[in-house]
Amino acid sequence: MRYIDKTVVGLSIAFLVLLFADFFMAEWVRFIGLQSLARGAVALGLLVLWRTGLVSFGHALYFGFGAYAAAMLTLVGYHDAFFLVFAGTLAAGVLAFLLGFLLRRYRAIFFALLNMAFSMILYGVIVKTEALGSTDGFSVLTPTFLGYAPKGEAVQTTLFIFTLVFTYIVTVGVHLYLKTTLGGMSMAVRENEIRVEYLGYSAEKVIHVKYVFSGLVAGFGGAIMALAIGQVDPDSMANWTVSGEFVFITILSGIGNVGATYIGALVFELIRTYAFEYAPLFWQFILGGSLLAIIMFLPDGIWSLFGRLRRSDSSESSSNSNKAPSP
């Protein structure tokens, strides 16, 4: 029976293992893990879009928006991680909901690029705003957790658990959602919008829902990142290159399984960390090279290594690649 759910089981095990490991892992590993969870969450949003046949080159928009929303709240005296992350997520979600009305009319490269354009507008606004430290950004004070204010290493440890719990909930949620009718319509919309319309449902509505969702998780990732790093700045949070990294991670992971995005994000962090450590002058070369290698030789991403759920997305969604914007 193909509907018995290995994924939830797998995720739960991974969740418990990491929860336990948190107290033992070296700080730098935990820190990389933390970033991987944050970036993985964004990639998760992109995965949902990708299954619908859409790719966004601008999700730094929601990542940055969530990060800055959370960070700005700390400026006015809010420090509770739960509140900050919730606010950041919500802010990004609302933005995605509004822009969604425009973007849901677009497909293929047009969708991807309009997202990028909007993200660059946010970038411009931030750089222009001296109150937010312009290109310097500003630092985010250590958050509290429902009154508990950790110090030193405990900060990261707590934040890691905090992040882990929420990413676990979100990820399992997404996985189950993808099995619902609405979630399943990803496939339907990607494969044949006309048929969806003539079955009596709006393809644009499907896309809008998924877009808002991807915005929410991107905002979540951003807020987490802001707290984890203790700093926000436009170049590493709202620039187009950041959006590129997210798509990179998605491709790295493949869209076979929701859990894969975190593995992809981890691999990305490790490649970058080690490239930076061993080739300080040519880390971009290594980053770009490995991306090319994966595109060429692992078309379905790392997940395909696990030999499951091969779905060569490339051939399918290229079918609608020449479709023009609807209006």
Binding site: V55, F57, L102, R105, Y106, A108, I109, F110, A112, L113, L114, M116, A117, F118, M120, I121, Y123, G124, V125, V127, K128, E193, I194, W240, G244, V247, F248, I251, L281, F282, Q284, F285, L287, G288, G289, L291, L292, I295, M296, P299, D313, S314, S315, S317, S318, N320, S321, N322, K323, A324, P325, P327
Partner: protein
């Protein structure tokens, strides 16, 4: 009055610059539906190559004006080389893949080339101001302008005309338009799309390189010049309508002149002009001012 004319001249110069750096991108997108992020690297390589050749040239005793040949030579060398290497060596293996994958591949290629640039030329900047010095300056409404920058306008016009004629008047151009309109059908009609793609990509690459090569004498050719160009050209292309050459022209003029006006009237908003226009256009006409006709398929 004087200010108005100055704004116009400054605007035209900057528009020409914008057009030159974005036309390559739009050509490639128009025909191949590929957003070529590597474009930024072409620009940078063009600039470095031209700086190197110009430097080499002026160490010889050859006539001074020959220096300009070095610029175009640089553009062609870089464009042809990278155009062919990238299209034949990488992209053609990806045409059957999801278009987003292709964009990301060009992004990856951009990262790689950024460092290749460092490996070849190092971090020290290169200068090639001789051609600019050579042409001297001229006064317009009692204000001195350097002739070189003004020639940029001429170059932009020539390139625009050339492309327009090439597309509408030549057999090749008609083939291109056919491919632009519908890849499959033109294939069915026996057009060799493979060749069309390679040629287009090379032309686009030369355009990108030419942008950098021609700008080189006016700037300090140093690391990182490619990155800015990507976003700049991207904005112009989005505003004008992706893949439309008239669009690129209009987009460049719109941004260029408004920016010049901002610099003279409200300098503090200069940074924002380009994003503001982009936002406006996207809100009103998201497919861009001159979106080319798309074959709607279901």
């Amino acid at each position: 009055m004087q200010e108005l004319i100055v704004i116009l001249v400054d605007g035209l110069v900057f528009s020409s610059y914008l057009f030159m750096v974005s036309v390559g991108l739009t050509v490639i997108f128009g025909v191949m539906k590929i957003l070529n992020v590597t474009h930024g690297a072409f620009y940078a390589f063009g600039a470095y190559m031209s700086a190197t050749l110009i430097g080499a040239y002026y160490n010889t005793e050859l006539p001074e004006f020959g220096g300009f040949l070095a610029i175009f030579a640089a553009a062609i060398i870089v464009g042809v080389f990278f155009g062919i290497v990238l299209e034949r060596g990488l992209l053609r293996f990806l045409y059957h893949r999801d278009e987003h994958i292709i964009v990301l591949a060009t992004f990856a290629m951009f990262l790689v080339l950024e460092d290749v640039l460092l490996m070849i030329w190092g971090t020290d900047p290169y200068y090639a101001y001789e051609p600019m010095a050579l042409l001297g300056a001229v006064d317009i409404v009692e204000l001195t302008f350097d002739v070189y920058s003004l020639t940029l306008i001429g170059l932009a016009v020539i390139v625009a005309l050339g492309l327009w004629l090439g597309l509408t008047k030549t057999k090749w151009g008609k083939l291109l338009l056919a491919v632009i309109f519908d890849r499959e059908i033109s294939q069915a009609m026996g057009i060799n799309v493979t060749v069309v793609f390679t040629v287009t990509f090379v032309v686009g690459s030369i355009m990108g390189a030419l942008g950098g090569a021609y700008i080189a004498p006016t700037i300090s050719v140093s690391p990182g010049i490619g990155v800015e160009v990507i976003i700049l050209s991207f904005a112009v292309v989005v505003i004008g309508g992706m893949g439309s050459i008239p669009g690129a022209i209009i987009g460049a003029l719109l941004v260029g002149i408004s920016r010049a006006a901002a610099v003279h009237k409200f300098p503090e908003i200069e940074l924002f002009v380009i994003y503001a226009i982009m936002a406006l256009v996207l809100a009103i006409r998201p497919e861009g001012l001159f979106a080319p006709p798309q074959a709607r398929k279901i």
